[in-house]
Amino acid sequence: MTGNTGNGGNSTGIRVASVDDIPEGEGIAISSDVTGTEDDIAILRDDDGTCWALNDTCTHETASLAEGWVEEGDVECPLHSSRFNLKTGKVDGLPATRDTVPHRVEVRDGEVYLFPGERP
């Protein structure tokens, strides 16, 4: 369950970072205290510079996807290399078998805004 609390449904989103704080191909984790969701949320920057958001905890065991390797539309888990689609959260590679949850992000004036619980 990724329910929204305080900030959920917020039309402007939560400002979570500057794009320049996230190197291409990497990610940062935003604490559930900020997002109001059950899990932390990983903001992941693809190698083409676009930003995406997924639940941070890998569905296989307990790794943080924000520490993963982001490339060509996928994030690769830092523990056993399951891959998740940045846009849909779908598993693109074993050992994970359960999809994860994507969230909407928007970049305005170089700032990243997160919409927890909203589909991209």
Binding site: E67, E76, H80
Partner: protein, 398 residues
């Protein structure tokens, strides 16, 4: 000839990956997975969280049980294939059933090597082994682990976590030098002593059952030592029985070509039971999974993904170790470059051949290995000084 029926024998990661990839690629014919286990499960947790008691069988399933029906895969669980007949396209099960198969995929894995010893001892390959071993891992129990490879080392770590007293014996000093390079191997092996495991460089000369346990005579020691339990973690014997009986070529594995095809054109072999002619078997999880991807492509006549440098992980004492490619000892052609400080995780070590990375190993630095893997596969030229410079983003070197 189009393929209308495929039978995969063995429900480890190689077999499950084969059936998954066949369906993913649009194969619509009959697809049967014969699995000695009721529901196929994953093996890496057996020396880690499962052994520690932190995970149960359901949580280590390779796929949720309903997945097989959703994918229209006939999972024949709890069944053993007793013969394959490639000429007539048949697989015979232990209950006498005959399955029709245009293609047969052997994914039978292997057994833990069990040298003849004169005392009861554990091995670790399946959940039954793990359940049995766990009953021996109680606080204060004296455990002898024979073999300090990846599995022996993982069990030492898990057993310490459960409060057992562990002696870990291996004739090599340090063990695993071929896999991780001698410098990292020495440091990793040293972790055992830091965590209260007595690591002994010796061979086991005799193991004898005593009224209270097992007496082990280690080479170079005047007296034998008493243990409550013994684990033999000395390697894998590939399961080639079905192939041998069918007259296929085997030699430390079912011999296959680059498309996983065995010496009979209707038979493929994947994972730990197979060996690519003139190569060593990887015996790692991802290699088995990728064999399945290749086998599916071969069956469907599509282009298999390009070969990739072999990758593995292992965990001990809360540290995550990964390796890729081939680590070498420094010589005229090779140098080893440390990124960070060896022994202070996160750090990594790269083997360079000229300006090409051929192998890397990392402790708590998985993205160094992910970068190395791409450097190897894409044949990127790099400088040793750039690899060693931790302010340098490795992705920028790709």
């Amino acid at each position: 000839m189009t393929v209308a029926s495929v039978v995969v024998v063995g429900g480890g990661v190689a077999g499950v990956s084969t059936v998954a990839e066949l369906r993913k690629a649009g194969y619509a014919g009959e697809l049967v997975l014969v699995s000695a286990d009721a529901v196929p499960y994953d093996r890496p947790p057996l020396s880690k969280e499962y052994l520690a008691g932190g995970r149960d069988l359901e949580s280590i399933a390779l796929q949720p049980s309903q997945w097989y029906a959703e994918q229209e895969i006939s999972l024949v669980g709890g069944a053993v294939a007793v013969a394959i007949r490639p000429d007539t396209g048949e697989v015979e099960l232990d209950d006498g059933r005959l399955l029709a198969a245009d293609k047969i995929v052997l994914a039978t894995g292997g057994r833990a090597a069990r040298p003849a010893v004169g005392a009861p001892s554990h091995v670790l390959r399946d959940v039954t082994d793990a359940d049995r071993l766990r009953t021996s891992l109680v606080p204060g129990a004296r455990l002898l682990i024979v073999g300090a490879g990846l599995i022996g080392a993982e069990v030492a770590s898990t057993a310490r976590g459960l409060g057992a007293e562990v002696v870990l014996v291996d004739p090599l000093d340090p063990p695993l030098a071929a896999a991780v390079g001698v410098e990292a191997a020495r440091w990793l092996h040293g972790l055992h002593a830091d965590h209260g495991v007595e690591a002994v460089t010796a061979t086991v000369e005799t193991l004898l059952e005593t009224p209270t346990g097992v007496a082990a005579q280690l080479s170079g020691e005047p007296d034998s030592r008493e243990f409550d339990a013994v684990l033999l973690a000395v390697g894998l014997v590939p399961e080639t029985g079905l192939a041998d009986a069918a007259g296929l070529e085997t030699s430390r594995g079912v011999l296959v070509d680059a498309g996983q095809v065995a010496s009979h054109p209707s038979v493929l072999a994947v994972g730990d039971c197979a060996r690519l002619r003139d190569h060593h078997r990887a015996e790692h999880w991802e290699a088995a999974q990728l064999d399945g991807v290749r086998a599916a492509a071969t069956i469907l006549g599509t282009e298999p993904p390009p070969a990739a440098a072999p990758w593995w992980w292992s965990d001990r004492y809360g540290l995550h170790v990964e390796g890729v490619g081939e680590m070498r000892s420094p010589d005229a052609m090779h140098q080893n470059v440390v990124r960070g400080v060896l022994g202070e995780p996160p750090f990594s070590v790269f083997t360079l051949h000229g300006e090409r990375v051929v192998g890397a190993v990392a402790v708590d630095d998985p993205n160094a290995v992910r970068a190395a893997r791409r450097m190897i596969d894409r044949q990127v030229d790099v400088r040793a000084s750039d690899l060693a410079d931790t302010t340098q983003n490795l992705r920028k070197l790709l």
